[in-house]
Symmetry: C2
Subunit: 359 residues, 2 copies
């Protein structure tokens, strides 16, 4: 098992990465100061891993389970209210610990419920998808979607610990694995060119679900993310670079309806769109653009966005949280392994990249 410590000014917490950690009671128990636990999960994850977790906890703790319906389209106030109501019905007080057992959707909703139930209770993440292991479980962003925009409602709220069990990836659908790899590739592109090269060399092993390679990819991804969020917990500056491909990606997700394109798939296509805009500014070469497109493709991700009108794209991109005073700010690549938040791009070139009919 490897441990990465996330350090903030006034508190820090560990991310444990290893095998068979879900059933390791002594590990999780270090972060359970009280008796009452609520495990929040979804119907798919519950079928596979809930019993393992409950069997580990229940000899020692009072555990309730709250099972939500799987899917990004359920990352909304209805699911949030299910959690609140179950907690209140079970007379959960401020000593309750919420454990999120699931992917990014479960982690984000549960984290937001923990941030807002009685103005804040203990929270532990057990991410069960590659995407959530390398991205959403690190950094404290929690929240839900609004019909008018993704992740519009939320809070910054840090867990007591993150337990990343690599074994769970063996039951992950291939499409979900690819979605996670989009974020893994992103870390290489924004700040770690050697990691990008390592991914070029080993993408086949990752797609083939080789455990050692996946563990290495998770470790390097989490370390990269930790370095960025430690420097900027509340996203007032450098943290924005983690959004490479995301302004495009969020627009794709909303336009297609949440869940039709997976988040990582939309980000994969968005990374290629950002690379095209970067190339148009001579920040990337034609060869760089081809390398990026190829790695995204080899990860099993789409490189061509869906056909959405340019006006619709711009309208949805305008809703992005990085938009300031009506100006869409984009994370672009200054070079391979370097990213920047900018509005100094050519708007007509952006429109051309968004316009599928011109391709």
């Amino acid at each position: 098992m490897k441990t990465i410590n996330i350090q903030f000014d006034d508190r820090s917490y560990p991310i444990y990465i290893g095998q068979n950690l879900i059933s390791d009671f002594s590990l999780i128990n270090q972060h359970l100061p009280h008796k009452k636990i609520a495990v929040v999960t979804n119907n798919l994850v519950a079928d596979i891993y809930l019993d393992t977790l409950i069997n580990s906890l229940s000899p020692h703790k009072d555990v309730i389970s709250i099972i939500l319906t799987d899917g990004e389209k359920h990352k909304n106030t209805d699911s949030l209210n299910i959690i609140y109501s179950e907690l209140l019905k079970n007379k959960a007080d401020r000593n309750i610990t919420l454990i999120a057992l699931g992917g990014g959707v479960i982690g984000d909703i549960t984290g937001f419920a923990a941030a807002t139930y009685m103005r804040g209770v203990n929270f532990i993440q057990i991410p069960t998808t590659l995407l959530s292991q390398v991205d959403s479980s690190v950094g404290g962003k929690t929240g839900i979607n609004h019909p008018l925009g993704k992740n519009m409602i939320g809070a910054f709220y840090q867990p007591k610990c993150v337990i990343t069990d690599v074994n769970v990836l063996t039951t992950l659908p291939r499409r979900e694995l690819s979605a996670g790899l989009a974020e893994v590739i992103k870390y290489g592109l924004i700040r770690d060119i050697r990691f990008f090269e390592w991914l070029e060399d080993n993408m086949q092993s990752l797609v083939g679900m080789k455990q050692d390679y996946l563990m290495e990819a998770i470790l390097r991804s989490c370390q990269n993310k930790a370095d960025v969020v430690e420097a900027d917990e509340f996203e007032s500056g450098i943290r924005a670079i983690l959004n490479l491909g995301h302004t495009f990606g969020h627009a794709i997700e909303v336009a297609q309806g949440y869940g039709n394109w997976l988040h990582g798939e939309a980000v994969g296509a968005g990374i290629v769109m950002a690379a095209k805009l970067s190339q148009s500014m001579n920040w990337l070469s034609d060869k760089d653009l081809k390398r990026i497109t190829k790695l995204i493709k080899n990860a099993g991700l789409p490189t061509i966005p869906p056909n959405i009108s340019v006006e619709k794209y711009l309208e949805l991109m305008m809703l992005d949280k990085k938009t300031k005073d009506g100006q869409i700010n984009l994370v672009l690549q200054k070079s391979m392994g370097e990213a920047v938040l900018t509005n100094a791009y050519d708007s007509s070139k952006l429109r051309q990249i968004l316009d599928q009919s011109s391709h």
Copy 2:
């Protein structure tokens, strides 16, 4: 105008207390870093004060108004969603400032919306009731009610400033003024016996809405609250004493249906119930209990709680956020001007106080 500064570790903010502050653009503008403003208010307050505020802001700022329906029963997710939707429809980004113009309900909902819209935006309070001026606008508690419990969903989130305009009290219904006085009396009882004595001497002037006396009462109340919350921002210890009378009061409010008993009325009756329990422990004398009951009565508040079954009382009190591991913790008076959070009370005496049929 007087200013009280609230000091926390990493930030501080001013409470301005004076006359005609709502129309003082230069004052509020010190705390408006950006162009876009959303004023959140309710239909009753909007009729009286919204134009004054808008006329002051709109020559300089882009202002939208969001008008909710008045009343504690609307302090819920529906109202919260109205705010989120209006902000998104108006393409509000992270540079938006939310201004709460209203009483405690408006302040709490708007503060929670500010805490959670895009994971946190700027927030300013303009409290328009005595209750919100002396209590809810100070200390950063925000939130909404849940059908199963009051203030169950929320966050700690501090405003950029609080603008307390004493003039607005001239249009406040007498019943609302009395409700505010319950919290004013509380500060005397929990930590400031000289203030309690001042209130005994001057209650008639306060009920008579004499501006100078009201300003003095607000100032001394805010200073008392500031001292407590500065010592304990996240309510892990001493801050609990601010809840004198509130565990009883919340149960009354929920049992009667939100809004039928005003919060301050329920707290007034709750303060007397807490005093009775304190007296039964010989922490207060018979004379102390009489003084407290008399001052609550002179403030125009109920001293006798509604007839609710003991079991219902206990069930609702159990939902209080101070309940830990199934034990109801109560703020009681150790002496006049001193309060303590305790579970070392006589349960049978508590049941007797809750049982109206025994009176």
